[in-house]
Symmetry: C3
Subunit: 347 residues, 3 copies
């Protein structure tokens, strides 16, 4: 199936330059787009590709209008990347029309659960006693909504998502397969060489418009709740410890670990594989590079990094060996400075 450029601009706005009846069969990356496909140029630095792409039409910023018009159809708009994002949403809706709400007869739904209007519940899903499912929510196959837990309106739990007892998920959230919300936080008191479990009496509260990637885990709080703000985006395989608080619109890439009782501000970003240690505070608008270990609180916005630079192995071995002598090297330099200072004139 396809949609015309005219349909697209009709739905999403922007200024159409060129043939409104041109049929678009797919949205495509600039490098591989074909004549019946639509691509976008988000930034001026990709301008050189305008002349080489085979895309049938381009979404471009006003500044590239002249360059783009000379080669064919385009949609001119303020922010092509944002336009493209909205276009993907529209495109998906065109191609995958919403299914009629349906509760699969195999689902196990406790009679005391409150199920809203237009709710879909997939095969083998389990909805526990006292659980509340908001209007228009979709509960995927094998997903579990625990006792007294709540799923907000229009929220989508993909397959095999766990919402633990008493945990709350807001509206319009998307949780991908394998997500575990509300497993016990990792809390034990040491006693004579063994560990005594601290029962985790809190829950997890997740705001609206949150997206959580596959197999990501958010633990319930020990006493208070673990809290995820509105608009937070978490990628796959992330671990969020108990009592963590994440501010609104913060985003984290895959494989991040946030230890217990860390408080992360709003509008932060955390790169893939980074670790935030427990009980730390990160201010708003702090950006952490990939694979960085945050070992202290950060009170100022900015970009913070700590990662060993990659090198060919032989060079790394040499530098890593030297690194283990670094304190000693500083002392040697200090001694040299002293000796030179005592014996040589200032230059």
């Amino acid at each position: 199936m396809s949609r015309s450029l005219g349909d697209i601009v009709g739905a999403l706005g922007g200024e159409l330059v060129g043939n409104a009846s041109l049929q678009i069969h797919r949205l495509a990356p600039l490098a591989t787009a074909r004549a019946d496909e639509l691509s976008f140029v988000a930034q001026a630095r990709y301008a050189a590709q305008i002349q080489t792409t085979a895309a049938g039409a381009l979404i471009i910023p006003a500044g590239l209008r002249d360059a783009a018009m000379s080669r064919g159809a385009c949609i001119v708009c303020d922010d092509p990347y944002l336009y493209f994002a909205r276009l993907t949403q529209w495109w998906k809706a065109q191609h995958e029309p919403a299914e009629a709400p349906r509760v699969d007869p195999s689902a196990s739904i406790h009679p005391s659960a409150l199920i809203g209007d237009r709710v879909s519940i997939g095969p083998f899903a389990v909805v526990g006693p006292g659980a509340r499912i908001g209007d228009g929510a979709r509960i995927g196959p094998h997903s579990i909504v625990g006792r007294d837990a709540a799923v907000g309106e229009e929220t989508l739990l993909h397959a095999r998502v766990n919402i633990g007892d008493r945990c709350v998920v807001g509206q319009r959230c998307i949780l991908h397969p394998g997500v575990v919300i509300g497993a016990d936080g990792f809390g034990f008191a040491p006693h004579q060489g063994e560990w005594v479990k601290i029962e985790q009496l809190g829950a997890v509260r997740i705001g609206n418009d949150v997206e959580i990637g596959a197999n990501t885990c958010i633990d319930r709080g020990a006493l208070d709740d673990t809290v995820i703000g509105n608009g937070v985006k978490l990628d796959n395989l992330i671990q969020i410890g108990h009592n963590v608080r994440i501010g609104d619109h913060t985003a984290m890439a895959g494989c991040v670990g946030v230890a217990g009782t860390a408080t992360i501000g709003a509008h932060c970003s955390v790169g893939g594989g980074a670790i935030v240690l427990g009980h730390l505070m990160l201010a708003d608008r702090v950006n952490i590079s990939a694979a960085t270990v945050v070992t202290r609180s950060i009170h100022q916005p900015g970009l913070y990094t700590g990662m060993f630079p990659i090198d060919d192995n032989a060079a790394w071995e040499k530098n890593a060996a030297s690194l283990k002598q670094l304190g000693r090297l500083r002392e040697r330099v200090r001694a040299l400075e002293q000796r030179v200072e005592n014996n040589l004139p200032k230059s």
Copy 2:
């Protein structure tokens, strides 16, 4: 609901100072506790908060008795953190009375499985041929106990836990959602640029009182078994490779990876995101800091660390660039030392 201080001390001991009929509605952190809530002061270094907390009552060590008594009710005990741990257990039991054992009719239970007394099995669980479920065990919804696998007495498998064929889990264990016990270890023989699978013929044996966090994986052994000792505590999203052995009461934080055939002692700790390479041996009581890569066996107890310190990005870039010249820098210092030695008197 609530419990009186008198009830608590009656159940858990300690010396009650103050009003035994004071009703406690919640256990709460010191910083946010209210007048009808109970908190604890584990260590003398939090003593300053005794005067500022609004908690209605406090669990304190004897050394803080005078400071605490002046402000209100308290429970004096030897180890407030341990007392608190046991209190969370008692509190949870009060609030969530044990449900009557129940086998959901939707569960798929092979006729040759041996199911103990007082066993609960949740919706859509699968218990395979020859599996054994011990007395009082609970098998959560969507959990799978494989062929000839065993789950010990009073063990709790939360939702969606996999116990692979022939794997054995001890007594009183807790496995959180998404745990995978007994997937194949990662073993292949190289042959003409391709990988030939080594079937993993071992299993996994897990001791008693082990807790395993959400989405954590423990692979089956290649020939021998992978073995997890008694009282081991593993957080979420941990990977334990084939043939690993972990000693009793060792604890690992989230996102740790332990490669195949590593042997880790008893009473060790491994911080979040750390990696232990394969075929290494860690002695008892070795503590590994977060995000540290263990590249050699460690024979002495102690704390070991290796992580690039975080910095603002500009400073990091400068230092990281210098790091790649570190071997060269040492040579330059050596040359300087030589030249100074040859030309200057000792200072």
Copy 3:
């Protein structure tokens, strides 16, 4: 049960030296093997263990024939490790004869799905509309094959594997429990401090003979597909971002993260916990050490490393503190060099 040495050599070849009727009860590691067990010596460097092992028989390379014959039965072959791999396959097949194909009546199979011959489908599995399951494929309990997705011939999905809508898995693949194929890639356009979702319109295409470890995730592409080549082996808890391409026969150890649009060549290896940043290109036959962060494209085959060396904590603290002064240290050395150069004769 047991098999004789003669049976083994009859099935797998090699030259048998010794008693063909010797019964083997288990394949075992060299260090723990007993008199009725068979072990292997892959490399000459383990030759010393030939005299100490209690194994009843050994698989050895021709070069160790004399050393091995003197102690008992052996199988001489070109590549003992490869022989051993094939032996584990044969051994497993002997001990766990293939079960007759069976579709569990509890499985939810859409009438429009195409199910091949000799297909097994486990309890509570879900096969969506338009899905295709190839001949001889096995779909484990709780596994889900999404709308219009495809699973190739003889492929094994263990329990609780998700194949997202439109995703394609090749022939003879093995996917372990908890694998998520085709969750949405992590794509958002920033807009006024919030994130606008970019719908992920691509899918995932997985080649033949691929093995994917427990709880590993491979995201669907944004526009094009995410592509995994033939013979790729991925361990547990790996994250593969959208639009990643992985070349044939590349292997990755556990806990690796590959960010979006990275292109990794054929015959590469990536060590456990390593991170590959987005949009990078790795040539064929690039090997990345464990816990290394790949921050730039790598065009030459070879081994690349970047990890902070582990040390006892006190030494690490000293060196890490010095590391943060490293740029300054270089400047001090430069100043010393200058001053020495200006004042001292060449030595």
